[in-house]
Assembly symmetry: C2
Homo-oligomer: 206 residues x 2
Amino acid sequence: MKRDKVETRERILKAAERLLTKSGGRDFGINSLAREAGVDKVLIYRYFGSLSEVLRAIGEETSLWPSTVDLFGPGVNPRRVADPEDALIRVLTNSLKELRRRKPTQEVARWELFERNELTEKFAAVREKRGSELLAALSIDSAAYPEIDVGAVIALVHAGLTHMVLCSRTADKYLGIDLHSNFGWGRLEKTIDCLIRAYLAGQRKG
Amino acid sequence: MKRDKVETRERILKAAERLLTKSGGRDFGINSLAREAGVDKVLIYRYFGSLSEVLRAIGEETSLWPSTVDLFGPGVNPRRVADPEDALIRVLTNSLKELRRRKPTQEVARWELFERNELTEKFAAVREKRGSELLAALSIDSAAYPEIDVGAVIALVHAGLTHMVLCSRTADKYLGIDLHSNFGWGRLEKTIDCLIRAYLAGQRKG
DNA sequence: TTTAACTGTCGCTGGGCGGTGACATAAACT
DNA sequence: AGTTTATGTCACCGCCCAGCGACAGTTAAA
């Protein structure tokens, strides 16, 4: 084996990501990680100290989370959104798309449901931060919409999307929605669109 | 130890439920179950054959899932619903309430995200069955609402509720929604109400 | 009363786990 | 060159796991 600390460290991190995408946090342990990386496990201890430090490193050194432009779309200034309604819908559907193609992120989200650790706490923190930024960017909290709770709608829809993506690993469908076809996810996207528009329209009037 | 087969079997099942509520499916194994039940593990094999048979028994012999009347409310015939809009909202908010107070059910739902086993598959099957029954009971698939996908709305909202309930074990809040106060859950309930009404109203017109 | 079946107890095997100490070897410095 | 330091390898510990075979105490039938 080549004696290169940084490369070995890198290999461990890559293996950790691979392991996460492969089998999730289920059998994510020192031994399996060492096996996946083709590295003696003692090196993991030496370079990271513990498993949770590996997780922290993953959270900091890899792109687990979609960027603002991933969510808002290209060419959009999140601090000055032209059409809030449109932006909201786009962020939600983009959240779905981004989460669907980021397997490691899915695993961390799944993990959050089971336990708190360095990574899941960071995950939650980023989610809350993005959420409040989004809410601020939309700035539809006041005039046009009298009795409205956009925050709750965002939370509900986002949680729903997340849950169904996580379900897709073990379930075929969720309440009739096919979790393994573009048709199923398309239904969801369209529903998000209609739902948000209807909600805001209804609130705008009365 | 008393020599009573049926009582011992019962003890094992009770212990399984307790174990489930306590630590979830994470360390649900032969040894931990035997320990929890205060019973030698060989008896589990003798009386159930395997762990998955225990799971099957839990699914069949305990009340993991809310009944139809739990969901629709008392005095409602699910086969002939008076006000579909109202019924839908009530079923969704009741789903939230029921899931919130059934810890073992929450753990099974959490489990479903990680792996398939006898119990989680039954869980999914019951969910799908209830879902299609609900959809049939509402019978708003045709005339009054032209381009509508009530199934997708139900799925999305239900998934969202489920996800946030599951999150409440490890997270304090989800996108700003306080997961540990009646205020937070109340926001959700009201939002469900407004969201569903707005969606159906919007679809009714155009 | 003898015998058979049932119920529960004990101890073992083989394996994976997290974690650690002793050792080998390559690289870098003096 | 020789010495030190860093990097990687190996063998081991104690623990828990699933599963199995042998046995002991009880019960009920013959």
